[in-house]
Amino acid sequence: MKTKVLAIDDSRTIRNLLAATLEEAGFEYHCAVDGREGVDMYPDVDPDVVITDINMPNLDGFGVIEELRGTGINSKVPILVLTTESAPELKARARGAGATGWITKPFDDASLIFALKRVTGAAA
């Protein structure tokens, strides 16, 4: 079984980068273009891990975390946030909302895979 990733980012570039890296590494990749769509897609995709951007239209990354943690469907799913700067207050806020970890943009393949490894145990 491939590890399923649901990536939520409004930037096509970032989505493509994630898709390229993750698909090559053998993950099953799903994506949503904003927080609302991500949360809506969540039950269908039923991912093993969620990667979400913070700044997004409709519903931002914090909203995504809050809604997913609040659903109770799978309040334990690992959620990684994508942040551009490693601004401490952003990370702290994300963690306060229930984020599992973070990926700092720009990310490279190795750090992305490493982050996923730490929260899902899977390298693919």
């Binding site: 390229a20 490279d108 490493f114």
Partner: protein, 722 residues
């Protein structure tokens, strides 16, 4: 691979810059809606994020400054006065210029860039600047991770033993972090021994679900640096009690401290962009940079300072982005038209050579063949310019299904197939509306309510399958739901009520299903604002036929419905069979022809008063005389003796009777729109090799108009049913 992603990035930049411009223009016009400001912030932020991924440092630095000012504006810490708006407009122009330079190469006007950066800086409060440029990490140990690398890198990797005590706080479990996964990540680094400490575990009665009682003692033997080991625990830092003790710790700490100095000595501007996560050496987008020695402070600083200048060189190293060219659609269309003329021209030339009284034309024919192949190549090339994968369209449809599900209280998922199928751009654009309509219909009328589905023994979640494929020169789009299927008695009743069919009409299942496409038909008991809006499936059908395609529905009660849309690959050229009918030359699309045959008298059987059937290998197929269907009269006594066996999407076969077959060739489709009204049986026109105009026939509508075919079809179905 990264090249094509970079292409996407630049394309996306164009859109984001456009959005930024649009927003700023709105702001300039007095619109201070927070959402406008937010949208600009996000656009600039996205440019920065993408630029960071490709190491476009100048762009990152400028976008960062720009974005920070916008962050101030959206947090209401800054007023959008005239002066600031003007600065933002100029900054937006500069951002465009930087994107352009990053994409196409060229020089940045450094002085102008610096002036704007300085002007933007004036709006950024001091502490804000410091905060955002802070190297990285959640306060404490996060920076240490990098530093360990910097400090430890030069030494030959030596095996070291780390003793790790890890005791999660209960808060850790709320973040989705699992000790087991962390240990797995540790195990990748070397040899790991895990011992669980359950001493704090209380008796069963005293146990609290929300508490954390367990701790682990780990021993890791690894050649990896300490920073790698620490990095594993990055996410749980502050959420656990953690101690990591290595053998050679004292030395490593000294190195780390030295590196820390080096880091803070570096110019801040470079940090945001140039300091990636701890595992920097593996970065694919950066050329390998030797880890700077901790004691070589000036060298490190210099390296970072010179980074922007080295940028263009770096790009060349990566092969640069694949250049793209934005061209007005009209120019491409002109080219397509010209290629069409070229193909016509070829036919004319071939014909004229054939008419010449020359005994040996072999050489000319060889050249002519080459001409033809080249023309085909050019045509395919031009078509490829217009071809696009249906993926974005399909992705939009997923959203439509979600929206429709939410609005109707049903649960549906959209499964897509063949997303990479390429279709003409215009076709994709004009497919969006009909597809939206069909999908909304599928959710609204097709898929049942969850409780009904359950009662019918189906999964609660309805499945709608949207697929695209190339099928013998056409594009086939299928929308298949697993709902209740068409409610035929109800459809028939409505059609009778609305006077679409006479009360005593005998219809086949297929005919009833296709009533959905009749103008003014809508089965919704009340017009829901989802698929209703007074628009029926006839609009969908018109849109599809307008593209030279056909749509058909098939349905099985209780199992669902399938809409099939068949579209031509291109709107410009098609393969056709040139035939003559009542002394006129006409073209029949190859895609609809199954086989052709010359008939003899004994193959013809009569049906009723004036219907005839063709007997083919023991099967009977209704004959439809094209001349009769089009209202043409034969002056000569030539008989329709050649049959084109065609098959409709409903599986109905019919033999189109024509006088003769001349040729099979590519023809350029010339629309009759605006030239004359709709002629039943005629789809379009073309110009043949001899310069004459020929009509392109639409077999489907010819058959539909044929009484014999209809009568035979009904009879056949009835006999099948009994």
């Amino acid at each position: 691979m990264s090249g094509s992603i970079q292409d996407t990035f630049f394309e996306e930049c164009e859109e984001l810059l456009e959005a930024t411009d649009e927003g700023l223009t709105a702001i300039e016009g007095g619109d201070h809606d927070p959402e406008v400001v937010n949208a600009i912030f996000r656009a600039v932020h996205s440019i920065k994020g993408g630029a960071g991924a490709f190491g476009l440092d100048d762009l990152v630095a400028f976008a960062h400054r720009f974005e920070t000012v916008f962050d101030e504006v959206r947090s209401n810490r800054l007023d959008l006065d005239e002066k600031l708006i003007q600065l933002l407009l100029r900054s937006s122009d500069q951002l465009s210029a930087l994107v352009e330079v990053a994409r196409d190469g060229g020089e940045i006007d450094e002085a102008h860039n610096d002036t704007l950066l300085a002007a933007l800086d004036e709006y950024i409060p001091e502490e804000e600047e410091d905060l955002t440029f802070e190297p990285m990490g959640l306060g404490g140990p996060a920076p240490m991770m990098d530093l360990g690398d910097l400090g430890g890198a030069p030494a030959e990797p030596q095996e070291e033993t780390y003793r790790i005590r890890f005791q999660p706080l209960k808060e850790m479990y709320g973040t989705g972090n699992e000790p087991f996964f962390l240990f797995q990540a540790l195990k990748d680094l070397g040899e790991l021994t895990v011992t669980m400490d359950e001493n704090e575990l209380p008796g069963f009665d005293a146990m609290d679900m929300a508490e954390a009682y367990l701790a682990w003692d780990l021993v890791l033997v690894t050649k990896e640096t300490r920073s790698k080991v620490e990095a594993v625990f990055e996410f749980v830092e502050g959420l656990c009690e953690l101690s990591i003790n290595g053998d050679g710790d004292a030395e490593a700490e000294a190195n780390a401290l030295a590196a820390l100095d080096a880091m803070f000595a570096a110019p801040p501007a470079a940090d945001a962009a140039a300091a990636p996560e701890g595992e920097a050496p593996a970065a694919p987008f950066e050329p390998p940079v030797p880890a700077p020695e901790p004691e070589a402070k000036p060298a490190a600083a210099e390296e970072k300072a010179s980074a922007p200048k080295a940028e263009s060189g770096k790009q060349e190293q990566r092969g640069g982005p694949k250049p793209t060219l934005r061209v007005e659609l009209e120019r491409v269309d002109r080219l397509i038209n010209a290629v069409g003329e070229l193909i016509i021209n070829h036919s004319m030339l071939a014909q004229q050579i054939a008419n010449l009284n020359v005994s040996d034309t072999r050489d000319v024919e060889t050249e002519l063949e080459g001409f033809k192949n080249l023309a085909r190549d050019i045509q395919e090339g031009v078509m490829a310019i217009r071809a696009q994968p249906v993926k974005p369209l399909f992705q939009r449809m997923a959203r439509i299904v979600r929206e429709a599900s939410a609005a109707t209280g049903k649960t549906c998922k959209l499964v897509t197939e063949g997303e990479n199928t390429e279709v003409d751009k215009t076709v994709i654009e004009r497919l969006s509306d009909p597809l939206t309509h069909i999908l909304r219909n599928a959710v609204d009328h097709g898929v049942e309510k969850p409780e009904d589905r359950e009662a019918a023994g189906k999964s609660k979640v309805g499945e709608i399958r949207l697929s695209a494929s190339h099928r013998s020169g056409s594009v086939c789009i299928e929308i298949k739901d697993d709902g209740a299927g068409v409610n035929r008695p109800r459809v028939k009743q409505i059609a009778i009520e609305k006077g679409l069919i006479p009360e005593n009409a005998e219809l086949t299942d297929g005919e009833i299903d296709n009533l959905l496409f009749a103008p003014g038909f809508s089965t919704a008991k009340e017009i829901s604002n989802l698929s209703g809006r007074g628009v029926g499936m006839d609009v969908v059908k018109n849109a599809v036929t307008g593209l030279g395609g056909r749509i058909n529905i098939s349905s099985a009660p209780g199992k669902g419905s399938t809409f099939t849309i068949i579209l031509p690959l291109t709107l410009a050229v098609m393969d056709g069979m040139v035939v003559s009918v009542a002394d006129q030359t006409m073209v029949v699309p190859i895609t609809s022809i199954v086989e052709t045959m010359r008939g003899s008298d004994d193959m013809i059987n009569s049906l009723g008063a004036d219907g005839t059937l063709l007997s083919i290998r023991g099967n009977f197929v209704p004959i439809c005389d094209v001349a009769g269907a089009l209202g043409l009269y034969r002056e000569s006594d030539q008989q329709a003796g050649v049959y084109l066996l065609v098959e409709t999407e409903t599986g109905q076969r019919c033999a189109l009777a024509v006088d003769d077959i001349h040729d099979q060739r590519q023809v350029v489709i010339k629309s009759l729109d605006g030239v004359c009204g709709e002629i039943p049986g005629v789809a379009a026109a073309t110009i043949l090799g001899d310069g004459k105009i020929a009509m392109i026939l639409d077999p489907e509508s010819i058959i539909a108009a044929s009484p014999t075919a209809a009568a035979f079809d009904t009879e056949r179905r009835m006999s099948n049913a009994s």
